[in-house]
């Protein structure tokens, strides 16, 4: 949909300017990491990364490559700012959250640089809304230092098999225990709630299992309240890769395909819960 009201003339230099024909995809990706009010945005020539953290234990990143955008220009080497993700999401859906077929919200994002607000121009059906969202100093973020060489166990599953499991996790359990092993039970999700314990086992030869590379038996526990928000990312994704390193840090990477067949990634990193003892596993 063409813009009927143009943003300020290009005489002004923007650190970041980007256009997107359909803001819905961006909205659903950002929603998948929205478990805290604030997020840190990074923009480089390759694209946009939005990071959310909590409790110094969990970090989620949404990656939107430059190719997804109709226009994506970053004038500085890197652009970083902290912003209210809640407000950003509200703005992206200013025309309503339900999308009628045939209509889409077009988006143009502009950021002048450090200290300036993020400008959003949203247009639908000829109506334009201009939003200015204040930006803040970016926080220092955790570096999980999770690289492929440090990975001990890795599996790739079709998301379809995990969706229901995550949606129905027994939230009366404090932890989600993940067992990965070259032997039985191969891949097991366990909860220990008020009703009793529950185990969900995925065999290595299951149709859902796209890749199975487990070298060592590992059992780690993570605070379930921290991992529960990842259910949104799981719901959007077609595949998920689950990796652990020697310290038990967990990496969940979700491959998300949009309507145009373009691929984006959302990842979650989580620290193992140290308070829980390993007795009786």
């Amino acid at each position: 949909m063409p813009f009927s009201a143009q943003p300020p003339a290009s005489g002004e230099r923007y650190a970041l300017s980007a256009s997107l024909d359909n803001a819905r995809h961006l909205f659903s990706l950002l929603r998948a990491v929205h478990f805290q009010d604030h997020a840190t945005c990074f923009a480089t020539a390759s694209g946009l990364r939005v990071t959310v953290e909590d409790a110094k234990c969990i970090q989620a990143n949404a990656f939107i490559q430059a190719e997804i955008f109709q226009e994506f220009v970053v004038q500085e080497e890197s652009v970083v700012f902290r912003i209210s993700l809640s407000v950003l999401l509200d703005c992206l859906t200013i025309f309503g959250t339900s999308s009628l077929p045939g209509t889409s919200t077009a988006l143009r994002m502009c950021y002048r640089g450090y200290g300036y607000p993020l400008m959003l121009f949203l247009e639908e059906g000829g109506v334009v809304t201009v939003c200015k969202i204040n930006t803040q100093e970016p926080d220092e973020l955790l570096d999980f230092d999770f690289c492929s060489t440090k990975v001990v166990n890795k599996i790739i599953l079709q998301s379809e098999g995990l969706r229901e499991a995550f949606a129905e996790l027994d939230m009366s359990s404090e932890v989600l225990q993940i067992t990965m092993s070259p032997d039985k039970p191969y891949f097991r999700l366990s909860t220990f709630g008020n009703a009793g314990s529950a185990h969900l086992d995925y065999p290595r030869d299951s149709d859902l299992m796209e890749a199975f590379h487990c070298n060592q038996t590992q059992t780690n526990r993570y605070k379930i309240s921290l991992l529960k928000p990842s259910t949104k990312a799981l719901a959007l994704s077609s595949k998920v890769s689950i990796r652990t390193d020697a310290q038990g840090f967990l990496s969940l990477q979700y491959m998300i395909r949009n309507e145009d067949g373009q691929i984006c990634f959302v990842e979650y990193y989580c620290c193992p819960d140290e308070n829980i003892t390993e007795a009786g596993l």
Partner: protein
């Protein structure tokens, strides 16, 4: 069963797996007996001549939680394995789903005494049998919040259903709904004319939903007001009983409690089962004075401890000592029989008089 009580009693027997529930005021009891043929495999466990099969109870919510999202479960679940592990104190429910995925739930359980209400369908003077659909269509006319309904038999074999209105309610502010069903709507009608019973509709609705879904005819066995009404569903592999207390029909409550459980009532004999029934009947008539036409006043009755065999007394006192029915519920609790020697005589195969739930929480 979850409409009746918060706990699910599981009792494996030689004739199948029995799932039961009772409500907090002990005025409703339901049991579902799944015959061994219902299962692909049924092993109730080996027992010696003196040991009974293990039974337990679990929280209803915990058990139902295993089967939530039933529609997707129906599509994805292949088979379900239920294991009772007494030594580990766990009831294991293992669901084998598609893609080779296995869900194992280990539920904590509590040991319990046998839960069994005293009732005998053979002793009921009236019996109706109808397809569930007929009753569902009848009950839909009553508001979902309606607590009690009165079922009655009228002239020409017609059956009536009417909402029960408490006498304290103001006549000008109450709405009365009454509907009549012709005899031919029922599969069989064998009723004593002019009889009526009032029971809790809410508890009945649960069974009705099940009956409709399973497309089974529902049989209603009832007797005089105050005697329990028994709803049954029968299938080749399933037997369902729902026993509800009914409002009794007393004229006044001027009797002092001390006149109840009077000493002139017959002492139970060896044929305990029979006498239990007549004992209950005797207790009712002696307390109520003459059984006149139904009066507008229905009063709260609580079961009184009975003067009976000393060995039974403790358990009965336990029941009587408990505040029976709370004031706003007008139903007396169903009598839950005391321990009887297994294989004791009974007038019919449906007579089941067994141990009372004696874990003291009532």
């Amino acid at each position: 069963l979850s409409r009746i009580g918060d706990e699910l009693y599981l009792e494996p027997t030689e004739s199948g797996l029995s799932l039961r529930a009772v409500n907090s005021s002990r005025s409703a009891f339901a049991s579902f007996l799944f015959a061994p043929l219902f299962f692909q495999l049924y092993e109730p466990g080996s027992t010696g001549p003196d040991t009974e099969l293990f039974r337990c109870k679990v929280h209803m919510k915990s058990f139902l939680g295993v089967f939530r999202s039933l529609p997707s479960l129906e599509k994805s679940m292949g088979k379900c394995l239920i294991l009772l592990k007494p030594r580990a104190s766990r009831l294991v429910l293992q669901l084998h789903c598609k893609y080779g995925v296995t869900k194992t739930h280990n539920l904590a359980f509590q040991e319990c005494e046998r839960l069994q209400a005293v009732f005998d369908t053979q002793r009921c003077t009236s019996r109706l049998c109808a397809p569930a659909r007929v009753l569902v269509e009848a009950v839909v006319h009553f508001p979902p919040t309606l607590a009690e309904v009165t079922l009655g038999t009228g002239p020409g074999g017609k059956i009536s259903l009417r909402n029960y209105v408490e006498d304290e309610a103001e006549p000008s502010k109450t709405m009365v709904t009454e509907l009549w069903l012709a005899e031919d709507e029922f599969q069989s009608v064998a009723v004593s004319p002019g009889s009526h019973i009032t029971f809790c509709l809410k508890e009945f609705r649960g069974l009705l939903t099940f009956a409709e879904a399973s497309n089974l005819p529902l049989t209603i066995h009832f007797d005089d007001p105050g005697r329990p009404v028994i709803f049954t569903l029968d299938d080749t592999v399933l037997e369902v009983h729902l026993v509800l207390a009914t409002l009794s029909d007393l004229e006044s409550d001027s009797q002092s409690p001390s006149t109840n459980g009077v000493s002139h009532l017959p002492a139970p004999s060896d044929d305990f089962a029979d006498d239990l029934e007549s004992y209950m009947a005797a207790m009712e008539t002696s307390e109520g004075g003459s059984r006149g036409p139904p009066s507008p006043t229905f009063h709260l009755r609580t079961p009184q401890p009975a003067e009976s065999d000393p060995e039974e007394e403790e358990e009965e006192e336990e029941e009587g000592a408990v505040p029976g029915t709370p004031p706003h519920k007008k139903f007396r609790s169903l009598f839950f029989g005391s321990v009887m020697t297994p294989g004791g005589p009974g007038p019919a195969t449906t007579q089941e008089v067994l141990a009372e739930d004696s874990d003291g929480e009532w």
